[in-house]
């Protein structure tokens, strides 16, 4: 059986549209006015304004290598991050430190350390697995480049992003 939809009984005022149209125009004009006088603030104009200061502590941005307070690369080229990396974005070529080096007791260090940022999925497993706390996910998110080569972060770039890590573990400190 067909269902009869009850139509609302419109009053005389509603039937001539005009009051509704005018009240609608008042609403849009109010929005326009509030925008012009800057009372409404919705849009964040991206390159000029950034949300960076509001980024949470746990934000996972670009992975980066860090130096310790003595200026040494913390990485010992154990290659655990290379093995754990799900998209296989990390490539490490380990090398030995020469015997007269200040940090010769560490023995190994990365000769080359490349992270392909096209492959990286920002999962943070490298950070999690690192026994030396040498690789961290920073808050950089605008990783850009014109070629595929640009998008591979080499050791210098990673150290530049990473900067110096203060405190935390100092396993190879003389006193320990």
């Amino acid at each position: 059986m067909a269902i009869t939809v009850r139509r609302p009984n419109l009053s005389w005022k509603e039937r001539i549209y005009l009051p509704a149209i005018l009240s609608g125009m008042v609403i849009t004009m109010r929005h326009l006015k509030n925008m012009i006088f800057g009372r409404t603030k919705v849009t964040m104009e991206y390159p000029e304004e950034k949300w960076d200061s509001h980024m949470p502590e746990h934000y996972r941005g670009a992975p980066a290598l860090v130096r310790d307070v003595a200026g040494r690369i913390r990485c010992v080229a154990c290659q655990l991050c290379e093995f754990i990396c799900p998209p296989r974005a990390i490539k490490i070529i380990p090398g030995e430190l020469p015997g007269d080096d200040k940090f010769a007791k560490v023995e190994k260090y990365p000769n080359e350390f490349d992270i392909d940022m096209i492959r990286c999925i920002y999962c943070g497993m490298c950070e999690e697995v690192c026994p030396e706390q040498a690789i961290f996910l920073r808050k950089d998110y605008a990783i850009t480049g014109f070629t595929r080569e640009d998008m591979v972060h080499d050791k210098e770039k990673l150290l530049e992003i990473g900067g110096v890590m203060h405190g935390v573990v100092l396993k190879w400190n003389e006193k320990k």
């Binding site: 149209i21 609608g24 125009m25 609403i27 849009t28 004009m29 929005h31 326009l32 509030n34 925008m35 012009i36 409404t40 919705v42 849009t43 104009e45």
Partner: protein
């Protein structure tokens, strides 16, 4: 042949088209985008130049550099003809509109013909051919529906458009648009003839049919220019893009420009018929308070400044009306097709008819 008239006419044509109408068209597109954005709490285009003011230039360059694509299934000749037909009538209409008083003794109207408004209606209704031919030649269902809708909508609203201006001609007794402006300067603007003459009952009574005329005419202009809430020919949500679905690059841009040019000519008509044309009353205390106005008749630079001021006044009024067009567009939803037809044939047609009798009665029994 009078070379002076030919030369000045040519200069007026080039000046109006390239210095006023086309920049106004491109900046009304910009205004449309900015105002619509602000109404919706967005920002709109603000990247190109200060506050995005060079956006129209960027748009034009983009449209010119795009590939001019013609689909394989269209009727090529009419497909190419349609954008021109959409653009030309909109611009040709402006020829009879007086957009200023005089400049260096030259009247600021391109063609002051004695059938003024008839010419406007004759040319403006050609605008629908562009849309119908575009819909037909595209050989595709959505443009076709858009074209058909456009033609029936145009017929329904052109009636009330024509009838709405009859009270003015009853009053003025002329079709020449410059005479209508002159009448308004002497007797007060059509929309509010009582201003400055507050105690004149006859003018108050006359304002009633004039206001109705104004409303009907404005709504009919909205329908005529395919603006929301009457944009059924290009209803994006129903007909993809309507009549210009199959168009791209500069041909699409011509439709776009044609729509805005039609808006400008429509606003110019409303200004001329109801809002006093280029006339702007200025209070003066020279020997007691009275209203005066600026003309371009004075000698030297004062005359030039006055003439330019009148042109600026006219296009300022047009710009205000364009803002109203945009404001209405971003407020109201689209009418359903049967509502549109009902409104056109059952309401506006009758209102305009009754209004004519009302105006005739007023003029017969309360002569000025």
């Amino acid at each position: 042949m009078n070379y002076f008239i030919i030369l000045t006419s040519l200069m007026k044509i080039l000046g109006v088209i390239f210095l006023i109408i086309l920049p106004m068209v491109s900046y009304s597109v910009y205004a449309e985008r900015r105002v619509s954005a602000l109404i919706q709490d967005r920002l709109g285009p603000n990247r190109v130049g200060p506050a995005g003011l060079f956006q129209p230039v960027a748009d034009a360059v983009k449209f010119l550099l795009k590939e001019d694509f013609t689909p394989a299934h269209v009727n090529t000749f009419y497909y190419w003809l349609a954008p021109c037909l959409a653009m030309v009538p909109a611009i040709a209409t402006i020829a009879v509109v007086p957009f200023g008083s005089t400049l260096l003794g030259v009247p600021m109207v391109i063609a002051d013909i004695n059938v003024g408004v008839l010419y406007v209606f004759a040319i403006a209704s050609l605008g629908v051919y562009g849309i119908v031919i575009a819909g037909w030649s595209s050989n595709s269902k959505y443009p076709f529906l858009g074209g058909v809708r456009s033609s029936s909508q145009m017929i329904s609203y052109e009636l009330s458009l024509g009838l709405a201006v009859i009270p003015i001609f009853l009053l003025v007794g002329q079709l020449r648009l410059t005479e209508i402006v002159r009448y308004q300067i002497e007797h007060g603007w059509m929309i509010a003839p009582f201003i400055g003459d507050w105690l004149n009952v006859q003018k108050w009574l006359l304002a009633i049919p004039m206001f109705v005329s104004f409303c009907v005419f404005t709504v009919a202009i909205f329908a005529e220019t395919n603006r929301l809430p009457f944009d059924l020919p290009e209803a994006e949500t129903e007909l993809v893009g309507g009549y210009h679905t199959e168009y791209g690059s500069m041909k699409f841009a011509l439709f776009f420009l044609g729509e805005y040019a039609a808006m400008i000519t429509g606003s110019a008509l409303i200004v001329t018929l109801f809002l006093g044309g280029w006339h702007l009353p200025i209070p003066s205390w020279n020997g007691g308070f009275h209203w005066t106005y600026i003309t371009g008749d004075a000698e030297g630079w004062r005359g030039i400044a006055g003439g330019l001021f009148n042109i600026a006044t006219f296009f300022g009024k047009v710009a205000m009306l364009l803002l109203v067009f945009i404001w209405v567009r971003w407020t109201l939803p689209r009418f359903r097709y049967d509502q549109l037809m009902r409104l056109g044939w059952v309401f506006f047609f009758e209102i305009a008819l009754v209004n004519i009798f009302l105006a005739a009665l007023m003029i017969a029994y309360f002569p000025a």
